[in-house]
């Protein structure tokens, strides 16, 4: 029998990664098992018998050497690495009784994950702010400068929103 593949597009926010994991679990319960991930937010599923899988996401970017160690560690602990999408690492494990289904087992390491996402966002946010600030101060010699200004402002607002939501998520975890 030929294996059928289905591709879905789904946007997700970094502070809602647990909702993303739940969605992937529900897909597996319906017989759609994640087989690869591609930018921007494309999920490829293999259609097969429904199974109880646990999906978990980490945010990690590293050199090749470190990545081998990292993936080996997850594999030894029973996690299958499905793919990587802009530093988001997708893992899966069969849900079994008595076995831990978490890749992060304390609040500190969960917070550290969101801080890695934040570090990435700051790298873009700061130059965007500088560019936007610079655009406002100079008179626009061309008519399309206004359009660029609006685009930069929208991206800047999106990043600001993401940063605020991530900081809120971290605060929420700290209170636990």
């Amino acid at each position: 029998m030929e294996k059928t593949k289905v591709t879905k597009f789904r946007w997700f926010w970094a502070w809602q990664d647990d909702a993303e994991e739940n969605w992937l679990e529900k897909m597996s319960q319906k017989g759609y098992h994640l087989s690869s991930v591609h930018l921007p937010c494309f999920y490829e599923f293999l259609v097969a018998e429904p199974r109880d899988y646990v999906y978990r996401m980490d945010y990690q970017s590293f050199h090749k050497k470190d990545k081998e160690e990292y993936l080996q560690l997850f594999q030894d602990a029973g996690w299958e690495h499905i793919g990587e999408m802009s530093a988001w690492q997708y893992f899966r494990k069969e849900a079994k009784q008595g076995e831990t289904t978490e890749i992060f087992t304390d609040v500190e390491s969960k917070i550290a994950k969101y801080k890695r996402v934040l570090a990435f966002l700051w790298v873009f946010w700061i130059p965007l702010l500088v560019i936007f600030g610079g655009r406002i101060l100079t008179d626009s010699p061309y008519p399309w400068w206004g359009v660029i200004q609006i685009i930069i402002l929208l991206v800047l607002l999106l990043f600001t929103y993401a940063i605020i939501r991530l900081l809120m998520r971290i605060r929420q975890l700290r209170r636990l």
């Binding site: 978990r56 980490d58 990690q60 081998e68 160690e69 990292y70 993936l71 080996q72 560690l73 997850f74 030894d76 602990a77 996690w79 831990t100 978490e102 890749i103 992060f104 087992t105 304390d106 500190e108 390491s109 550290a112 994950k113």
Partner: protein, 108 residues
Amino acid sequence: MITADDAKKYLPLTEATYYIMLALIEPLHGYAVMQKVEQISQGTVRVGPGTLYGVFDTLVAAGLIVMVKEENRRKSYKLTPKGKEVLLGQIKRLEIMTRKGLAATNRL
């Protein structure tokens, strides 16, 4: 050798970090650390691979553990003398906690 004061800046350790350092009294690779932590903590602490990877990273950067062997993509780590000082500092804190805790609750 570092002094007890130098060790203090790393304290208190999280429960996971404490047990991971305790496990690394002998050289072990990642998965062996996970198993040993569960065993020596009598099942009270389990460390997931994401948490362990982060703790390894932090401890190596702080010079509290060091990589001693690399085999089949598995790196083995061991506690450094500095790491041992920090671990002893944590044990002292825990000892005070349990001693005072037991003394106080015994009177209840």
